[in-house]
């Protein structure tokens, strides 16, 4: 088995949560490919296993069975420290609640992935400034997250996810806390700034207002991918 050049190659992924005597099957043998240069949306009802699946893909949760290759690297066989280093270099995260550190300015928040990789503060801030300008927040460099609107905070989070030029961006409900217009702006930023030939995006969402931004949509139910359908991007 191999990844065949895919960004993500999943075969037979299972994950079970044990709580006391009961076992909950979160993933029941998921097969999925995510291609380079593709924006894939993972949709489905609450509790169907979407978040568990992106946690496994992102290497922040260990799965039980199956093959999980991200850029050809088998995450299951990696040590925790290698997995941590792999995430730092190759992954960017966008969260539903932004997860910006409240006491840091926007530029400092954006610079974190570069600092984790050991870059000097000065050059990290310089690169972060460029990134914030790219998402339209060049005038908010020194604002604290609390002074920004929800849409602006999510754009800061996108800048943070992209600043170190990762090859895979994982987004968890990036628009669910935003109104329709703001959600559309955020998706446009994601689509235009984040998507590139050498990068893939996986977006977990409930928000059917943004489905048209996807290249493909994978529908999940009860821990399985039940349908993968192409979607024509309209913007």
């Amino acid at each position: 088995m191999g990844s065949n050049g895919n960004a993500v190659y999943l075969r037979g992924i299972t994950k079970t949560y044990v709580s006391g005597l009961s076992r909950v099957f979160a993933l029941r043998g998921v097969d999925l490919d995510v291609h380079m240069g593709e924006l894939l949306m993972l949709v489905g009802p609450s509790g169907c296993g979407k978040t568990t699946l992106i946690s496994v893909v992102a290497g922040i949760l260990d799965h039980d069975e199956g093959e999980n290759l991200v850029f050809g690297n088998d995450l299951r066989t990696m040590s925790q420290s290698k997995k941590t280093a792999f995430r730092g270099t190759n992954l960017g995260f966008v969260f539903q609640t932004y997860n910006l550190i409240p006491s840091l300015t926007t530029i400092e928040n954006v610079s974190i992935p570069l600092l984790i990789l050991g870059q000097q503060r000065k050059s990290a801030l310089s690169r972060s400034r460029e990134m914030l300008e790219a998402v339209g927040l060049g005038d908010k460099l020194n604002a604290l997250p609390a002074a920004l609107s929800g849409g602006q905070q999510q754009r800061v989070a996108i800048a943070r996810a992209l600043v170190h030029n990762p090859r895979l961006i994982v987004c968890d409900e990036p628009t669910s806390a935003l109104d329709a217009d703001t959600g559309r702006i955020v998706m446009e930023v994601l689509r235009h700034t984040a998507l590139a030939e050498n990068r893939a995006l996986i977006i977990v969402t409930h928000d059917n207002r943004i489905f048209h931004f996807a290249d493909r949509i994978a529908r999940m139910d009860d821990g399985r991918i039940v349908l993968v359908e192409p979607q024509v991007a309209t913007s």
């Binding site: 978040t51 992106i54 946690s55 992102a58 922040i60 949760l61 420290s81 941590t84 280093a85 995430r87 730092g88 270099t89 992954l91 995260f93 969260f95 539903q96 609640t97 997860n99 550190i101 409240p102 006491s103 840091l104 400092e108 974190i112 992935p113 600092l115 984790i116 990789l117 503060r121 968890d172 409900e173």
Partner: protein, 386 residues
């Protein structure tokens, strides 16, 4: 990343101030109580410090500390003088006697009778008059604190200030006239009574009739004679107890350490400061970590190693520890400065700073460990939970 750790810490003003206050309180309590304890224990031998001239103190073998007077016969003085290697040996009377003040009130005073000829053992500093004035009739020298407080004349009207005892004033000690000829400054001792210096003969006249009145024999070793060897010779020749000044200080200090409740009382206060500090700092720091768990999880998901997170938390703990320690010790020093003219025993020495620093370091490390454990065990997948 360490700058980020500090900004995370200082960004939450409430918790940041709470943490520092908790540690400040702990450092204050530990330093202040330790300094008072040290001050008190120093007073157990400050009288010996004030008498710098003798190398050796000779006394009854049953004496346990400086204020434990078990008098000797006057003839013992001559036996000590006869020991080879003694340059000089002089008598010292020390006893608590009753003084009658001008207004008829009585006050217990600590009377010291110095060798009539040499006046060895006099106060370390004279404020008014001269030590040699003790040779005048009925002369006594009073310490300044005693003169200004317990021996002071009571004000006539309500709210008036006491009038300190002055040179020329007269009081009665055991119905015998005593004229103040000088005011001295002496170190505060464990006993808080006024200190009155006079000659040995006059002191024994003040004292109630007893067969034995000699409290101590003060000895100077001849040039080239080792005081420790002389101590042994005096013991062997006289059968009395003899100590170098340092040994006698240690004897007095150890008596108070072993036979009084002082160490345990202060120990409890210091322990309480430590426990309260640990509880406040530990809980606040843990709450701070819990509230920032999402961000630690985010950092972990983005590739921060456990080692870096551990160092970030330790840095946060050390910063609040250093600030709390500085403020606590500063407050304790200010307290000591403000109290320096009072009866309070307060002695802040370098050892206390090291001790308090060690205790605060232990508190912050214990507090940090609880938080570190939580962060180390944190699953980065927490970041996807809302």
């Amino acid at each position: 990343m360490y700058r980020i750790a500090l900004k995370m810490l200082m960004g939450d003003r409430g918790k940041y101030v709470g943490l520092i206050m908790g540690l400040t309180f702990a450092a204050l309590l530990i330093t202040q109580q330790s300094a008072i304890f040290t001050g008190l224990m120093t007073r157990t031998y400050s009288f010996i410090n004030d008498l710098s001239q003798p190398d050796i103190w000779v006394m009854d073998p049953k004496v346990q500390f400086i204020d434990d007077i078990k008098p000797l016969q006057d003839t013992e003085l001559f036996r000590v003088r006869g020991v080879t290697g003694v340059e000089w040996a002089v008598p010292l009377y020390k006893g608590l006697l009753k003084a009658r003040l001008e207004d008829g009130n009585f006050q217990i005073v600590n009377v010291l009778g110095l060798d009539d000829a040499t006046l060895i053992g006099g106060p370390p500093q004279m404020i008014q008059g001269h030590l040699s004035d003790l040779r005048r009739q009925d002369a006594v020298i009073v310490n300044d604190v005693g003169a200004a407080t317990r021996l002071a004349r009571r004000p006539k009207g309500e709210g008036g200030k006491p009038i300190p005892l002055q040179v020329g004033d007269v009081l009665e000690i055991n119905d015998r006239r005593a004229v103040v000829v000088g005011i001295s400054k002496v170190s505060r001792t464990f006993q808080s009574q006024p200190v009155i210096y006079t000659t040995y003969t006059r002191a024994t006249n003040f004292a109630p009739r007893e067969r034995k009145l000699l409290s101590f024999v003060l000895v100077k070793a001849a040039d080239g004679v080792n005081p420790t060897e002389l101590v042994q010779r005096i013991k062997q020749s006289t059968g009395l107890a003899a100590y170098t000044a340092q040994e006698f200080k240690d004897l007095s200090y150890n008596f108070y350490m072993k036979s009084t409740g002082i160490p345990i009382n202060f120990g409890i206060a210091v322990m309480l400061g430590f426990l309260i500090g640990t509880a406040i700092a530990g809980q606040t720091f843990y709450n701070f970590t819990l509230e920032n768990l999402r961000y630690f999880g985010t950092l972990k998901a983005m590739g921060t190693t456990n080692g870096v997170l551990l160092r970030m938390i330790l840095l946060q703990a050390l910063v609040v520890g250093v600030l709390g320690f500085g403020l606590g010790v500063g407050s304790a020093s200010l307290f000591g400065y403000l109290m320096k003219e009072t009866e309070l025993a307060f002695r802040l020495v370098a050892e206390i700073l090291f001790f308090a620093g060690g205790a605060i370091f232990l508190i912050v490390i214990l507090s940090a460990l609880i938080s570190i454990r939580k962060v180390m065990k944190l699953e980065p997948a927490i970041v996807f939970k809302t």
